[in-house]
Symmetry: C2
Subunit: 297 residues, 2 copies
């Protein structure tokens, strides 16, 4: 479950609620493509913006639409108490694994984050992936803390933030972390634009935003990486460069992928919770051009 | 309401819920001291960690314990939809004003933040204070954006982040923002350690953490500032320097003030929601020493 391609779909919504049919369709598409796992209610799935009830409902829909593909559910919340409740909900609804980010409002200490993971792990019967995303959680893991948490028995993977685009620097970074964690804990790369570098540098999986909408595109890169074909990995990823440029210029992956999904009619417009907006005006035009140029569909 | 001393009490809680009696006692103490307003469910009041229902209950308790002192309620949340609901709840429960921070998970754009405030202001019948706290919201206001938002008719104050300790730099900073906002919009200083500088530099109010537990101490500084007695302001604030040192060394004001409240028995231990912890071990000993040294009670 924590190797290969983990595809993270959007949770399309508006001010009235989640668009359940559209969400199920996105998940079915991933199941049909036979991705290795489906990462539901990640940052791309806007978990932080949904109530406990809505998150349970989305989990149920995902599990029933995912066929034989394991579903990993994001259970992050500000309070340990709420994470425990979300973990129970996710397990009851059939999640195969959970993904936990140390979401913060007040800045957290290392000891607080460790205790948070320790408490949650004690209540889990499914494996957990540590979600390291300083851009949204505003918590920065030290390697030492990763090592401590990775030794908790339920921890089976770490979703690591973007590595350097320099392959040697990326290899060093992955090797440094690898040395501190148990052998059976996998490392997965986030940040689509450097995913190919991450995979070549030794990551076991790709926690992928683009894969949540275009699974075949992301699978081709992942399978080439798993076959050790670095040249094909690089070529396929380089082809998507105009897409990665949009991520860099327009404030990250979420708004771009959500805008693409709207333009292609995979989701209704708008699909993000206010105050978040998809891209408009000239930025939207740029996205349309890239969709056409890359023949994304 | 948005001038003088606005005192921000803790919302003492544990994993079972809010300690309602202790919270009411904290508010009554502020009312008795006749602070100018009580800022409930600010960052010190852990608003981000509480459910809508708990926040309504805390608002009701505050209003019924505050006597003739106006109560300002923090209504921040990730979603515009949730802020609208919280605003309605706060108004129904008798809030005299509201405090709104642009809380974020995904990084927000200036236009998103402006629309967020505009939408919320349209639904308000009480005045609003813009809560600028980049350390917790991870959104940085430009002066230009402050100017735009401050011209929305319901906006009556801006809670500004700590200014420079250099009085001339602080004066310049306050004057620069003042020039961009309407005359009847006040500016209040956050960051207890530089509050005296902020007040001398031209701020109309002090949004005070220490004032939420020690109202007389904070009132003495505020009243001296209002009388134009810069020397007394400085002397009274300098006396508290050992306290400000704790803020700096131990990761901000919340953990320090919560630890002080626990040590003095104003609240039960623990009083913060997990994963947050009050200070323990040597750090707690340091806090005890400062309490004794300053004769805080």
């Amino acid at each position: 479950m924590f190797t290969g391609l983990s595809a993270f779909p959007l949770t399309p919504m508006n001010e009235q609620g989640v668009r359940e049919d559209e969400f199920s369709n996105l998940v079915e598409r991933l199941a049909k493509a036979q991705v290795d796992s489906i990462g539901v209610l990640g940052s791309t799935g806007s978990y932080a913006y949904l109530s406990r009830e809505a998150r349970t409902r989305v989990t149920q829909l995902a599990v029933s639409s995912a066929g034989n593909v394991p579903v990993i559910i994001g259970i992050g919340a500000l309070r340990t108490r709420d994470v425990l409740a979300l973990a129970e909900d996710a397990q009851k609804a059939g999640a195969s694994g959970v993904l936990l980010a140390p979401v913060s409002y007040q800045k957290l200490t290392d000891d607080e984050v460790f205790s948070h993971y320790e408490t949650v792990c004690r209540s889990l019967s499914v494996p957990l992936c540590v979600y390291d995303n300083p851009g949204t959680t505003h918590f920065t893991f030290s390697d030492e803390l990763h090592g401590r948490i990775a030794h908790l028995p339920q921890v089976r993977s770490i979703k690591v933030p973007p590595v350097s685009t320099d392959i040697n620097a990326a290899r060093e970074r992955i090797a440094r972390l690898r040395a501190l964690i148990p052998e059976d804990v996998t490392m997965g790369i986030s940040g689509d634009a450097v995913a190919s570098t991450g995979l070549i540098a030794g990551c076991d999986s790709w926690y992928s935003v683009v894969g949540g909408l275009f699974p075949e595109t992301a699978l081709a890169i992942t399978r080439a990486a798993q076959a050790g074909d670095a040249q094909t990995v690089q070529r396929l990823s380089d082809r998507l460069e105009p897409f990665w440029v949009l991520y860099r210029e327009f404030g990250g992956s979420l708004r771009v992928i959500a805008t693409v999904a709207e333009i292609l009619g995979k989701v209704s417009t708008p699909c993000l919770p206010l105050p978040l907006n998809t891209l408009q005006g000239n930025q939207r035009n740029r996205v349309e051009q890239v969709i056409e140029q890359l023949d994304l569909r």
